[in-house]
Symmetry: C2
Subunit: 269 residues, 2 copies
């Protein structure tokens, strides 16, 4: 797959090995869907990026300059994916943040990956991952570059039987997928996990919360064990690239794409 890479303001395919993003995972990222030369949900991504910069004490990028750069990059693209990494910049040694920071911006433009249509229609198959998510409010919610937990979880299956895995925290509460957020429905009530101690505040998750509110639907933000998923009537996953995918099975438990999932697909996708 051909990926175009831009580091700071130029088309450049190299990074300094002193970059703290490489030495420590010291940075943030956003992965965004391009549609007809635009990023439909850019402002949601921008706001999460700013929140991440503030949490990690990374200078917030110049918004207009970044928007201009991305706009020029994607202008000709009908359907593609843009990934943005904001990394703290170089340092020679030690965790201490340099007094003068000079963050690095990397943009990756890559082709759209066409997912099979039945993922969005009949749904996907979920594995329950053994790798837990550690809990740390200092890092929860933001989309930072420390992703070893997700890598270990995603590495738990190699076959094509599962399209995603659900991760629990070290207390056994359901948190999210390896690359997506999770919702479920029981007796007409929508639920999604509390992400104040771990997990990523996904853009599509946020849009589901907004759309349900606009439509008078209540979503409970909860800390619940895996049993809640097994007892659910509907389960679905959200992600900025695929939108909403119903869940067809979790291990041996079967589900059908139900009416609330389908309603939200219409509202959000």
């Amino acid at each position: 797959m051909t990926v175009q890479v831009y580091v700071n303001d130029i088309s450049r395919h190299w990074l300094d090995p002193l970059e703290r993003g490489f030495q420590y995972g010291d940075g943030l990222f956003e992965t965004m869907a391009v549609r007809q030369g635009e990023l439909p949900h850019w402002l949601y991504h921008w706001e999460r990026l700013v929140a991440g910069c503030e949490r990690l004490n990374i200078p917030v990028p110049d918004q207009a300059a970044l928007e201009d750069k991305i706009t020029r990059l994607i202008r000709q693209q009908a359907k593609a994916v843009v990934k943005l990494i904001v990394s703290r910049g170089n340092s020679t040694r030690g965790y201490r943040i340099p007094p003068k920071q000079n963050p690095t911006q990397v943009l990756y433009l890559s082709p759209w990956l066409d997912y099979p249509a039945h993922y969005a229609e009949q749904g996907i198959h979920l594995k329950v991952c053994r790798t837990p998510l550690g809990m740390n409010p200092a890092l929860a919610g933001i989309k930072h570059l420390n992703r070893l937990e997700q890598i270990l979880a995603r590495n738990e299956w190699q076959d094509e039987k599962f399209q995603e895995g659900v991760m629990l925290n070290t207390s056994g509460h359901v948190i999210e997928g390896t690359m997506s957020n999770i919702f479920w429905v029981k007796a007409g009530q929508l639920y999604t996990p509390d992400l104040t101690e771990c997990g990523v505040l996904g853009i599509t998750r946020q849009r589901v919360l907004e759309k349900t509110k606009e439509n008078g639907m209540d979503v409970r933000i909860v800390r619940q064990h895996i049993d809640s998923l097994y007892e659910a009537d509907e389960v679905f996953m959200t992600n900025s690239l695929f939108g909403i995918w119903p869940v067809q099975s979790i291990e041996d438990r079967q589900y059908t794409a139900g009416p609330i999932t389908q309603l939200l697909q219409n509202l959000v996708n």
Copy 2:
């Protein structure tokens, strides 16, 4: 500060932005003291690196080739620091580990940082960090590249009043320093934290455990709150570069470099 950088087999000062070490912190590192053209504790570092590779499913480097490369790099160095990063290599998108991995090795050779002699004699001043360490047995012990917790903790102070900070896990147990391990003595008994749920298994910590065993001294591996430090008679920190530093104060509590700390400095440094 001038740092020499070698990527794989050549003197090269660039990395591919698709490197997973940069995208996800997907790799491991070792920071090692050079003495008279040698790495005195290389085998300890090597063993931890191998354990890390096995945990993260990264192919273990060729030992002889790596040793040969490092030997050539440090031959002329009387006193210096070598840092090695083993990163998983490139991938275009997603957490999934590529079926064919091609890990990247980066070596950094940098000048020795001379610490003031009084750190090793009278001791250092410790801050108690607010940033907690998340608990996750899947990542505990190894020296991986996901270091945002340490960066946030080290960023809690900017003045020169403190030389190190002590970190607690999310249950409030004492775990380690931001860049070191911690021991304490109470009524002649040595203690150090259990690191099965978080923290890095430091090389000097391991050497202290070996030397104490050889000398018939017992060390209890414990889960204890910060009060245990305040009630201790002696506290010291260990690290591969500075060896053993006594602790002179933790916030308002004062200590003196006691006899057990001094004995271990003689045995280990």
